[in-house]
Point group: C2
Chain length 350, copies 2
């Protein structure tokens, strides 16, 4: 069992990585009042496991799916917390994927100005990315993660056992964020290239997940609230990815991140941010998770979603985090019209 | 102009105290996109002043009153922020009393995971207490400040000019928190006793407000999130005060804090937390703001509101911050039944 410390400015958190991580809850939180939040899919799969891991806990189940990551679900979770008469020392356990972690995390941040929070991520995406770093949110007004806050979990329990039940779509989703980290960190990128054949094996994913979490812990320690700059690197591929995700849905978040990285590698090259060689390297990484980039017949129209992105510093412009070399990146702001022209590349078959 | 630095752990804020503080906005935030949140009462009084202080700002007005400090108003403010297409570098100005500061502060904390926030408190209560320290919230499910977060304003502009239009009720309200601070801080307490005749003069209030802010800044720097303990001192009189406020409404927050301090002085004495002499001192301080304690015929029933309080660490018990001596306090937890017996004292004329 590896324990990774995340020294965020607001409060530290600890990530337990490895087989048996989930079982650690009982000793770490013996005697604490526990309130589990999970979604209907995860509950159907893990009802008995939840009962065994959190024997005396109240369990709050909300309908699965990103479209339920909304104001209504948030307040229904808060209502259940009030009904259970939780206090500030109670522990909210977010048991599930990214949607559960984001929403239960926000509920924990807001209830009585904050309860204790433990993340138990059950998807690869949540394990390598969203459960670590304290971002919480709901979608609102057609904008992803538009309403939320930064709230660090005390503890994250990353147990690879949960990955065994993951559908293929969810594996690809997590892979998207892993490959993104590979572009951001030269050592992780090299490890991925050397193990390209094992990329879908659980044993390898377990190992690389810990590398990704260690990388993210460093970034979050430097810039918890995405202000100084360091944390912005994690948005690689996300400006375009989020815009497409909002416009087209259906595919997974990680798949859209890969498509975003692919498109943004061309932007980086044309804008003189990276060499053609490096842009090809980024696209090679993308191809490890996604063989062929899909066609989006009206991709240019997505510029309106990109304009809503919280990363934009000025109106009428789109902020992008672009990879400028192995382990290097730069933030670039483009006028909406210039960005729309780049999006057009997604309208034709590659 | 005095500038008081609040070194909260999450982020520092600066409080500008004195005549002309509001005018400082223009130079401090030259060129920043500004979004003003205020309530209908304050807007009616200060429409022109707001236009002059924040010439190019969007202004969002919500209906005045504690009963509008709710989920509906919060989301209507967020909707207006989205309509104005604010980004994270935009500045939300909470212009008004405690309700405005709490709710606009929460909207600023949540919009895109946080915009910049400036508090311009226009009531005595907000100036000496709620605008400083980063507590934000709405009421929910019949509990005061049940849903909220800690979010420090960058800047607080405390301008005594606004106090001139304050109704008497609002002055008494602020006085409640000032007298509370007098019990918590020996030097402030002494100053209040020596100036008892000037307690309702604006010149004295302006001076003592700065003392109270300096005191609060020290407390918040030590314990921003009310976890280590230091910040709990600010809850003096508040357990009983909040419970009565929820049950009876009508009177101001500060008036209820005074009533709470009065009752809790007896509790402190009987529970052996303070001497009879000190309890009398606390009641003398209370009497400077409130000549006669009102009768609450069914005060015992308020125990159910006290049980909902976020300060309670265990179920079925009520946590109280009790003054144990000049500048000293202790946290005490009482079984609900014992606390209800104490409440009975409010059922008869004093």
């Amino acid at each position: 069992m590896e324990i990774i410390q995340v020294n965020a400015a607001s409060r530290p958190s600890r990530v337990y990585c490895g087989a048996g991580a989930a079982e650690r809850y009982r000793e770490l939180y013996a005697g604490a009042e526990t309130f589990v939040v999970t979604d209907s899919n995860v509950y159907a799969l893990y009802k008995e496991r939840i009962a065994a891991l959190f024997p005396s806990a109240a369990v709050c189940v909300f309908p699965a799916g990103e479209r339920h990551k909304n104001r209504h679900s948030l307040f229904s979770v808060l209502d259940a917390m009030f009904a259970a008469q939780l206090h500030r020392r109670s522990v909210v356990v977010a048991f599930g994927g990214g949607v559960t972690g984001d929403m239960a995390g926000l509920a924990a941040a807001l209830y009585m100005r904050g309860t204790r929070l433990v993340q138990v991520p059950t998807t690869l995406l949540a394990q390598v990315d969203s459960s670590v770093g304290g971002k919480t949110a709901i979608d609102y007004g057609g904008v992803k993660n538009a309403v939320g806050t930064f709230y660090q979990p005390e503890t994250v329990l990353c147990d690879p056992a949960f990955l065994r039940t993951l559908p293929r779509r969810e594996l690809v989703c997590g892979l998207g964020e892993i490959l993104k980290t590979g572009v951001l960190d030269a050592a992780i990128g090299e490890k991925i290239e050397q193990n390209a054949a094992r990329l879908r094996e659980l044993s390898f994913l377990e190992e690389i997940a810990a590398d990704c979490i260690r990388f993210k812990a460093r970034v979050v320690a430097e810039d918890e609230r995405e202000q100084g700059g360091a944390r912005k690197c994690l948005n690689l591929g996300h400006t375009t990815g989020h815009a497409l995700e909002l416009a087209y849905g259906r595919r997974s978040h990680g798949a859209y991140v890969l498509i975003g990285m692919w498109l943004e590698s061309f932007i980086a090259e044309r804008e003189g941010v990276c060499s053609p060689d490096h842009a090809r390297y980024v696209r090679r990484m993308v191809s490890l998770g996604m063989k062929r980039i899909p066609v989006f017949p009206q991709a240019r129209g997505c510029v309106r979603y990109a304009l809503l992105d919280k990363k934009n510093a000025e109106k009428g412009s789109v902020s992008l985090t672009l990879s400028s070399g192995r382990g290097a990146w730069r933030e670039v702001s483009l006028p909406a019209s210039a960005y729309a022209e780049y999006l057009a590349r997604l309208e034709v078959r590659q």
